[in-house]
Symmetry: C2
Subunit: 318 residues, 2 copies
């Protein structure tokens, strides 16, 4: 038995054939043209064609997989087969399941990409030894995915687990969602970069300037962590603030849900433990409501990198 | 078949015999002596004695109920039968199940009081037509209880669903939990009263003064709502701020969990719809992440009042 998962991103479609142990045994990807005039049909055809090719190249047929799992970059409605909306693609209430099945007659399961990543980490990554988990993906935005008692929780409408849109700085910077001061605005890689650029402007001697070749637009999350490794005071100050807001967001989620584990994913989670995981644990452990209880929530790093989304999509119905 | 639930409060023990439809058909309560020198044994004996009396007075025996359900005012560990801690009672890692069973040999189920209230509202109150629900109890503190897919979620350690301890005002007033600016500090009745007293000091003509007989310590939540009904500008301003923080807390919870319904309980929820529920809905609906999805979370008022805790405790194992 194999599973097939596809991760729809803002720039490309990544498909993987996954075995029962959760290993991706074959992959295929194609770019996506977000400006296609008939985007709905185009996307469904691309997804179906990718599926057919991946199966064909591996001497498999549609009968060898139980369904196609698709992770979409926005809210979706798996029950009715709808891809509802995406900030980076021209999608509104798209009947993705029906359109896909017009191309290829096989069951289709849909999941939000952050929720798929959580399912992937839960099944075969950092969450596999636990029964409840929250994944916090620190990337361009902040995505979260919730697994409780082994099941993905996505809310009554499939839009749930948007922990990136809890407010951590009331009256703070505007978020794309319409609220102000969302967790995502501060704890995302974009948030870290923004905070670093703001601080650099006050310190022309910061190592951040030379690492960024003198240009603000070259600052990346990686550069901030590298400068902090070199003990650059500006980078250290920025990271201190960043860990602070990340810790508060983690505590909010832990107090509400008390999952066994919080898993940090996304580009930022590639930072060294000394600069990210250790200070985060130090500021979070012992401050939640489980002071007198066991077990206590553990915070760890994700293990599957960008593959989590494909693997989770593949396991959407398994 | 009958169920028996007991709600342990800071000042008294309230027991109820509940039928399968969730109606309390008999009640009995006793005060609790928080200063008893051997509190653990004393509490267990009082609970068992209350159980025996309630059964006896209704011509029932222990064989007529499947278990005794106990709601405790603090974190507990139902798996191991422990009442872990309470802010208002001298309890630390109390072996409540074992001690109770020394008095009366019957299964014992434990639940946190806010979670019991949620279970009660879910089974027979405001949540009964839904499959996922978050109860927010606006009382002396702010308690929350989470029901997902018909099951109470209390975290890996039973301490979960402490939504009152999500931070809504970073760097704000200290909370008993050790964090600063918790939802509870602002959205509780105590928070509302504190905000009202602060504003009264700036406005000696406020109706709040006469309703409180000229003394700050007489201000209650009810007085604030009454003054707002009379269009007292100070009370209106306080309520405006209060609804604002309540709305932001609701949005945080909705964005994370997207429950079908958020139920408002506790003393504050007795306020008129025009002053509480309607403005809260107005400021909350349409601002969460489910802009493009159905169904959307509904906000309603609790229906069971103080009985929710007894009924929920009674249903802990059913």
């Amino acid at each position: 038995m194999y599973y097939l998962g596809i991760d729809i991103g803002g720039t490309g479609l990544k498909a993987g054939l996954v075995d029962e142990a959760g290993t991706i045994i074959a992959r295929k990807s194609v770019p996506v043209d977000a400006k296609h005039p008939d985007f709905d049909h185009y996307l469904a055809e691309e997804l179906a064609s990718l599926t057919k090719q991946l199966l064909f190249e591996n001497d498999l047929s549609v009968n060898d997989i139980p369904y196609v799992g698709i992770g979409v970059p926005g809210p979706c409605d798996d029950k009715n087969g709808l891809f509802l909306f995406a900030p980076n693609l021209p999608v509104r209430n798209m009947e993705l399941r029906r359109l896909f099945q017009e191309q290829l007659d096989i069951p289709v399961r849909l999941g939000n990409d952050a929720n798929c990543a959580a399912l992937g980490e839960y099944r075969v990554g950092a969450g596999k030894q636990y029964s409840s988990m929250v994944l916090i993906t620190l990337g361009t935005g902040v995505g979260t995915g919730i697994i409780l008692d082994g099941k993905m929780w996505t809310g009554c409408n499939g839009v749930g687990a948007e922990g990136g849109h809890m407010v951590v700085r009331p009256g703070g910077l505007e978020c794309g969602c319409g609220r102000k001061g969302c967790f995502e605005v501060y704890a995302s890689a974009s948030g870290l970069i923004r905070m670093a650029v703001e601080q650099m402007r006050n310190d022309k001697d910061s190592l951040l300037w030379s690492l960024a070749d003198g240009a603000e637009e070259n600052v990346t999350g990686r550069i901030v962590f590298r400068a902090a490794e070199e003990k650059d005071p500006t980078a250290e100050k920025v990271l201190d603030e960043y860990i602070d807001v990340l810790s508060e967001g983690c505590l909010d989620i832990i107090n509400l849900l008390q999952p066994e584990v919080v898993v940090l994913g996304g580009g930022i989670s590639g930072a060294s433990d000394a600069l990210l995981l250790e200070p985060l644990r130090e500021r979070t452990y012992g401050r939640d409501m489980a002071k007198y209880s066991l077990p206590k929530t553990t915070i760890v790093k994700a293990e599957l990198g960008n593959d989590a989304g494909i693997i989770g999509a593949a396991f959407l119905g398994a």
